[in-house]
């Protein structure tokens, strides 16, 4: 249940869920084999819970987006209205992470999913968020720019945000952190960038969960239906609360507190693991 809460919170907060999944078990002296079929099956269930929470939170937006996408395909042309533009931006933004994730995810994780690289990437994640906030402030101070609405984002900018999201393949780099920073750099405000980031994450998390469902039925998986449903519900409820909190938080606040958290957590983990305290 702790893992379910951790997944629900850290998947959406810009602090890297994968990084926490790598760092926390050895810190708490848990003997978790992350290649074990039962553990992987449980992670699938948690991802599905998170994806359902995002779908539930943004249900009205998704209905409008899907309608607008289908309408534009039937007409064969773009009308330029907000939901249609947002829908196609989500499609083009999902392509980079889809391709890079499917082709390189397992090799990247094999290379970097151990505590010391994750601690370093967590600190890099912090620097990315600090740099994003600083660059945005500088852009706006110099040119008196104002934040633009999502329908003014260009296709190239949409692809750029998608590539930023792909950085989360590196354990320790946060998907939402990277995509919110990219959103800020293309002149979205914090609230719009966060909403765009969560909408962009939904198909990726949902499809990653659905495509891994066969893992649940592999021989050797010892997770029962009660544990699976409980994990899914706990992750879903926590994720729903997280997205509700974050969308309010980003109406008036920025990424810096999360940057400080990642910097301190990464530095502490680096010291602890490199001094073999938790080897």
């Amino acid at each position: 249940m702790f893992l379910a809460v951790l997944q629900g919170v850290s998947e959406l907060f810009p602090i890297s869920s994968l990084g926490h999944t790598v760092l926390i078990p050895p810190l708490l002296h848990w003997h978790v084999d992350e290649s074990d079929e039962s553990f992987l099956a449980f992670v699938v269930v948690l991802h599905l819970g998170t994806a359902f929470a995002l779908l539930a939170f943004y249900r009205k937006e998704w209905v409008r987006i899907v309608r607008a996408l289908v309408g534009s395909i039937v007409r064969g042309r773009l009308s330029g209205e907000r939901d249609e533009r947002l829908g196609w931006l989500l499609v083009v933004g999902t392509i980079p992470v889809g391709i890079l994730g499917v082709l390189f995810q397992s090799s990247v994780r094999g290379l970097f999913a151990s505590p010391i690289p994750v601690a370093i990437f967590l600190m890099i994640n912090a620097l990315v968020m600090f740099a994003g906030e600083w660059l945005r402030r500088r852009q706006h101070a110099r040119s008196e720019r104002v934040a633009k609405p999502i329908e003014q984002v260009t296709w190239l900018e949409g692809i750029g945000v998608g590539f930023a999201q792909s950085l989360a393949l590196l354990p320790g780099i946060s998907r939402s952190g990277a995509s919110i920073v990219a959103g800020l750099l293309i002149d979205l405000d914090h609230e719009e960038a966060a909403n765009y980031s969560f909408l962009l994450a939904t198909p990726v998390i949902l499809l990653a969960g659905i495509l891994e469902i066969p893992t649940l039925f592999k021989p050797g998986v010892t997770i029962g239906p009660v544990e699976a449903i409980a994990g899914c519900v706990v992750a879903g409820v926590t994720a729903y609360a997280s997205v509700a909190f974050l969308t309010r938080y980003f109406q008036h606040n920025d990424l810096r507190p999360f940057g400080w958290y990642c910097l301190l957590a990464g530095a502490a983990a680096l010291i602890l693991f490199s001094t073999k305290v938790f080897a």
């Binding site: 395909i73 007409r75 499609v91 499917v102 390189f104």
Partner: protein, 68 residues
């Protein structure tokens, strides 16, 4: 641009077929592309079919009659 969209759709469908049949010998590249039998996963065919569909949608946008 229409022919590029068609070519992409055909290429992605071929990739999807290769990732289902995975007939190639395993090496770093064929493994990453899902064309070899070890580490074969439903993700690869799904990705290639999705990209093929997107290429066809792109074609649809290019071939539809413009609005008057």
């Amino acid at each position: 641009m229409k022919s590029l969209a068609i070519a992409l759709a055909v290429i992605f469908v071929l990739c999807a077929i290769l990732s289902i049949l995975h007939p190639l010998e395993a090496n770093q590249m064929t493994r990453a592309l899902g064309f070899s039998s070890d580490k074969a996963h439903a993700k690869h065919p799904f990705l290639y079919f999705a990209l093929a569909v997107l290429a066809l949608v792109w074609l649809r946008f290019q071939t539809a009659t413009p609005a008057r």
